[in-house]
Point group: C2
Chain length 302, copies 2
Amino acid sequence: MTGEDDLIRLFREHLPAADRGVPFGDDMAGIVDAKLLWSTDMLMDGVDFDSSLHAWRLIGRKALAVNLSDCAAMAARPVSALCGLCLDRRVAPADALDLLLGAQEIAAEFGCAIVGGDTNSWDKPTVIAFTIAGACQAGNPPVLRSGALPGDGLWVSGRLGGSLLGRHLSFTPRVELALRLHRELPPHAMIDISDGLARDAWRMCEASGCGVELDAALLGGVVHADAHKMAADDGREPLDHVLNDGEDFELALALPAQAAGEAFGLHRVGTFVTRRDLRLVANGQARPIAPGGWQHAIGDLA
Amino acid sequence: MTGEDDLIRLFREHLPAADRGVPFGDDMAGIVDAKLLWSTDMLMDGVDFDSSLHAWRLIGRKALAVNLSDCAAMAARPVSALCGLCLDRRVAPADALDLLLGAQEIAAEFGCAIVGGDTNSWDKPTVIAFTIAGACQAGNPPVLRSGALPGDGLWVSGRLGGSLLGRHLSFTPRVELALRLHRELPPHAMIDISDGLARDAWRMCEASGCGVELDAALLGGVVHADAHKMAADDGREPLDHVLNDGEDFELALALPAQAAGEAFGLHRVGTFVTRRDLRLVANGQARPIAPGGWQHAIGDLA
């Protein structure tokens, strides 16, 4: 079995380098250069949402919000979006419209417009693929995953874990916070937490050529109430939910050692280090942990 | 039952107008303005390709080529692309790579680079969603669907019909021709024939507020050998294949009455008219025909 990170690595090895200003595999890519960025996210019914449980308006909202979160991760201001739909043939036109309007509403909140797309149908579950473009602020290059330095603090923008209880549909993309951080600091590196803090922090490490030590005591301060609720139900540790659930869509950032992230409402949860692994420090003991989190499995029956 | 054109109309009615330089519903949309355009196309296994029959390399080629064809339709030069994949979990990583390389090869032929994307998997058939960006030539606005005038000739860039015999996978997007036409004429309106000449010519008419008379005798001159082959097998008229098969990915254009399209290897097949319908003229008799062609059905069980 291969994970999506392995597949992306395979793709990167085989694609000729294109000079569009952003390394392949970051949250967004350059279109012509790093002034205007774009990214795409596909959501599948039964995987990323459940149309038998969730309202189409909320599903549409999520489909655009995950793209807005990519803009936040790069500190880009959302500009326009395309709406690609591959609808289960049983979805009524009124529901498809609701999906679009859910996306349109959150797009408008962020100054973004849905300007086109592609509409298809089939007899399989619905797949939604929004693409977003975001503009970087004049003179300010985008914040990449790859700029973390040993000694930087690892900070997060909010409490984590248990998002499946509902936040994965209703979260607020951290665009305004990201733009403010970008103007006033800027961060050395940034990513949005889509697949779990452990995996996404590790992605920053891999891109930056360093490692990170997560601090269990500090992580105790960012446990979301939903993580406690899920832990009470499933018997897993709340910390496990914080590290591995994903779909939090909070920012994870590398800030210079002296930066006061608290002034921006950020929470420090660890420190980037030279040693290239992911470790959890608890009671003065550091132990390696697996990146965990959510990954799409590729070719697991092949 | 609703067709995709109805759904797009519904979407357009409900989306606030966004000033990005291109009307909603054309082959591409403006990202910031009409200087840089983008579009997305989703292909589904079992609908647009068949992974049990077709090589992944050719499938990847098609997935990008349909987007290049949208660039041709607007007379935009391809710049960059994003690769969105929702892979059937049984697709091996080597096959996913083949898909990407098929796309990369034709991208490179057209000066386009695959700069990023999104990779997912599930236990349903594969969905591929490429997004492309194309740049308009300096000082030359893109060619829209909406500029056809009564009296203009309707021209096509090649023979039509029967593409399912293989051309739908191996066609050459008409980018170079489109750029040349754009520099030297330019056309009043343009579209690529993805869903059949009848439907796509009618889309030009709807956008332009006019009608078109297709000339059966002239259409007789653009019957592809594959249309004859399919007609011999299925008993339908070759002309029916020409009008309704789709996936030809040739250009259909409105040229001013006096324009000599032959100099560009184009074939005249009809005339735009004031009367807002689609008619076929044969033996001096004009009769209304249905747009026909391929449309995704939306909500047909709802």
